[in-house]
């Protein structure tokens, strides 16, 4: 029910969800883009931390996520 595999799926799905957010079309419109004007120089607040986290995930995880997704899809097709 709350097993290790489920947790792994949830984490991968959440990472995917963050990774597909679009910088220009979506994040900039709600003021969550990396270089928003009002957040300039502010690194302490929760919002700044979240924005930083989102942009970090988007830059860092994009390529590895492709591989991980392919592996999970193959696994789910064969054994799921």
């Amino acid at each position: 029910m709350f097993g290790f595999g489920t947790l792994l799926y949830v984490i991968i799905l959440l990472l995917n969800a963050v990774a597909i957010l679009n910088e220009e079309r979506f994040l900039a419109r709600i003021g969550w883009a990396r270089n928003s004007a009002e957040l300039y120089g502010d690194t302490e607040s929760v919002k700044a931390k979240l924005i930083n986290l989102i942009s970090a995930v988007r830059t860092l995880m994009r390529i590895p996520l492709i591989a991980v997704n392919i592996v999970v899809i193959a696994y789910a097709l064969v054994l799921g």
Partner: protein, 314 residues
């Protein structure tokens, strides 16, 4: 293949030195490993004595014999360097996240510590002092916290590990008493227990990142605090099969409250800054209090999930 180790064929140096030369380039770390694990070092003298030798050929015997044994020697060399590389790899990869000495600190427990810690988990209301003692070196400098052996308030990893194993076995026993036990149930139970543990640690880490709780809360401290929930769970799980429903539920709420109380009191000093400290740190104070409360209330949810053993075996 002889060029792999040109020193070997030369006039024999002392055996120990010769063996050092036989390994791939040795830095100080590797050397240390060799001293720690003496079974890695291969002693050519031993082999010399095992083989029958013609008399009178002692000074010249060494070189041809070594060449005759080249396969064995190369095997030993490869085994030795592979062993070293493996150890180095493990040390690098594990040591990057947790250091071994740190781990040992968390397992440094005594009987008295375990007893008083268990008492603390069941009756946290009786505890007055929740401060951890600082460890000082000879000059009086604070160098960290005291080991669990000397300080009851210090988190340890011995109780969580034992409680986790006991929890899995207890669930196996209960399911076995119902007569529907399958060996996979142990695996499912362990997987869900570990899943909850990882989930909670990730959640707390995420909050720590968002609220700027940095060095005060170590990863292993979180893991230890998170692992104590299995102690409470075991009590509830042991009541569940035979006790009437109201007793189980009251035990559930009692142990849930005790665990939540314990979490709040033991994490408070790490998470919530003192009110008198610098104003810059205080901007997250209210949020941190909320976060601590949420973490504590989540304990009910975790215990509730952990006592559902029937779901794993339909």
């Amino acid at each position: 293949m002889a060029h792999y180790n040109p020193q070997m064929a030369g006039s024999a140096p002392p055996p120990n030195q010769q063996m050092r030369g036989a390994f791939s380039p040795i830095d100080s770390q590797q050397q240390q490993q060799q001293q720690q694990f003496p079974y890695n070092t291969y002693n050519p003298n031993q082999q010399q004595f095992q083989q029958p030798q013609p008399p009178g050929a002692q000074p010249f015997m060494f070189v041809p014999q070594l060449q005759g044994n080249h396969a064995a020697q190369l095997g030993m060399q490869f085994a030795g360097s592979a062993m070293n590389a493996m150890q180095e790899n493990v040390q690098q990869n594990v040591g990057r996240y947790v250091s071994m000495s740190q781990l040992k600190h968390y397992f440094d427990v005594s009987n008295m510590y375990v007893l008083s810690k268990l008492k603390m988990l069941v009756f946290p209301w009786l505890q007055r002092n929740w401060h951890r003692h600082a460890e000082r070196d000879a000059t009086g400098q604070v160098v960290g916290f005291k080991a669990p052996r000397d300080d009851t308030n210090s988190p340890d990893l011995y109780i969580p590990v034992m409680a986790l194993v006991t929890y899995v076995i207890v669930i196996g026993l209960i399911v076995g008493r119902l007569g529907v036990f399958r060996p996979e149930d142990l695996g499912y139970t362990a997987s869900s227990a570990l899943g909850i543990l990882v989930f909670e640690v990730l959640l707390v880490k995420m909050f720590c990142y968002l609220l700027n709780v940095g060095a005060e809360l170590l990863l292993l401290d979180i893991l230890a605090c998170s692992g104590y929930k299995f102690v409470s769970t075991i009590f509830v799980v042991l009541l569940k099969p035979w006790a009437p429903w109201w007793l189980t539920w009251s035990a559930f709420f009692y142990f849930g409250f005790a665990l939540a109380f314990y979490m709040i009191r033991s994490l408070r000093h790490a998470v919530i800054p003192e009110p008198s400290s610098v104003t810059g740190i205080n901007i997250h104070r209210k949020r941190r209090i909320h976060f601590l409360f949420v973490i504590a209330m989540m304990q009910f949810f975790y215990i509730w999930i952990l006592i559902q053993y029937k779901t794993s075996s339909k």
